[in-house]
Symmetry: C2
Subunit: 265 residues, 2 copies
């Protein structure tokens, strides 16, 4: 199964600790044998690293592990290919510009019949069902807001509705960002945890590694991490129920916005 | 002045030699003080590295210098900021998906009044005149071919015409790729060189470094490099005249396609 990881924080934060645990996961014959990718937002900019090879052979994984890139928003994906060959263009997370913002998407699961859904503006570069779903989702948002400007008001109700729709096609665990929010849809497996003062220590599930966040943070820091399964064994993770949707901004869980129908579908 | 570098080859080729010379350039107070970026195509996939910091401080530059990434198409840009603050989203090359292909763009120069040109689909994430020009160029291509499929036939005449149009706004030295071709427009400074058998040795202009391509290549390799100014002192570079346009594919210079007007502008 693919592994998803996301982070939303109110201060640029590195993900070295989580990344160490994450890189232990992802397949039987070796860790993450079908590639991995990670997107780091820095303000409006978005820096991505992709590698279709196993991370053990990856110079790029060494760079990300060894060098603490600080970001307020991260989306990471470790792939076990179920759909589409193993190559750079099929490696999550996928990125597109919409309304002058970089959108980033990673998906775990499988969607039956997604490729029958017509696309208008955004088109996949690779052959995965996931990238097709991402293009369809952005197309629907664009069609619902045909003007050029970023729509005012929350897009959360629409994205939640579109994610629920995609979920009817199979398994759709999703992390999505518009450079501001981290949108999370759980179909089968997704859990989250918010770290804030008073900070303590935490130990990874997958590796015998402990971090003392009290030493690395300031009292006002708020950092939420989201993962396919809890990454640490001694912190109070919230397991999302199938069909639920959560939105984080600057580390905080946002209250669900009032549901509004899409003006065009 | 910004430095541009491009490479088109018929076989995956590393750019370590050129990159060593290139990284010596770009500003008085230190090399490439306003950031740099590079895009490597691997089939349809495109891997980009961006750093808004000087390359001397850049872990990412060390990765690219030390690790031979092989690619058939490369676009690199070293920035001396003239327009837009120094940050990740203002760092070339810029990338957008059109017709299911990743397009990549880097620009050296300055375009007066470019931001008055209206955009329809593509919008800048940052604030540079360059990214606005890139979005406008892709918008024009999309408007001229409103269907979903990649247009059949050569896009070269249209891209050449659009580049010439942008050139009327100021200085427009440009490298552009659609994952297949390397399109080059010269406004003031651009030179190119094709290496093919029999391969010899070459010495960098900017650094006391010599490569013996005969040892690193096979007889059928064809590799074209394009740069703001010749990178080597002992090879027959062709300096492009102001206003000229050249297209390379798999290392070879393509004959200019017959000029056709854009069907919509």
């Amino acid at each position: 199964m693919c592994e998803l990881f996301g982070m939303s924080a109110n201060v640029p934060t590195d993900v070295c600790f989580s990344f160490a645990g994450l890189m232990r996961r992802g397949g039987d014959t070796g860790p993450h044998r079908d590639g991995w990718g990670i997107a780091f937002y820095e303000d409006n900019g978005c820096r991505t690293f992709h590698d279709p090879r196993a991370s053990a052979e990856s110079e790029i994984a060494r760079l990300v592990r060894g060098h603490a890139i600080h970001s307020e928003l991260v989306i990471c994906h470790i792939r076990k290919a179920t759909h589409g060959r193993v190559c750079l263009e099929n490696t999550h997370p996928f990125t597109r510009e919409l309304w002058g913002r970089q959108w980033t998407f990673a998906h775990n699961g499988k969607l039956r019949g997604i490729k029958k859904r017509q696309l208008t503006t955004f088109r996949p570069v690779g052959t995965t069902d996931s990238e097709h779903a991402f293009c369809w989702l952005l197309d629907q948002l664009r069609l619902a807001h045909p003007g050029q400007a970023v729509p005012s008001g929350s897009l959360e109700p629409q994205i939640r509705e579109l994610a629920a729709d995609l979920g009817t096609l199979g398994i759709f665990n999703m992390l999505l960002s518009d450079a501001r929010h981290l949108f999370c849809h759980c179909s089968t497996n997704l859990a989250w945890l918010t770290r804030r003062a008073p900070f303590g220590a935490a130990t990874l599930v997958d590796e015998d590694l402990t971090a003392d966040f009290a030493r690395e943070t300031s009292p006002t820091d708020v950092v939420t991490v989201v993962a396919t399964k809890p990454l640490t064994r001694d912190e109070p993770w919230t397991t999302m129920a199938p069909g639920t949707f959560r939105t984080f901004r600057r580390g905080e869980l946002l209250p669900p916005a009032r549901n509004r129908p899409l003006s065009a579908r």
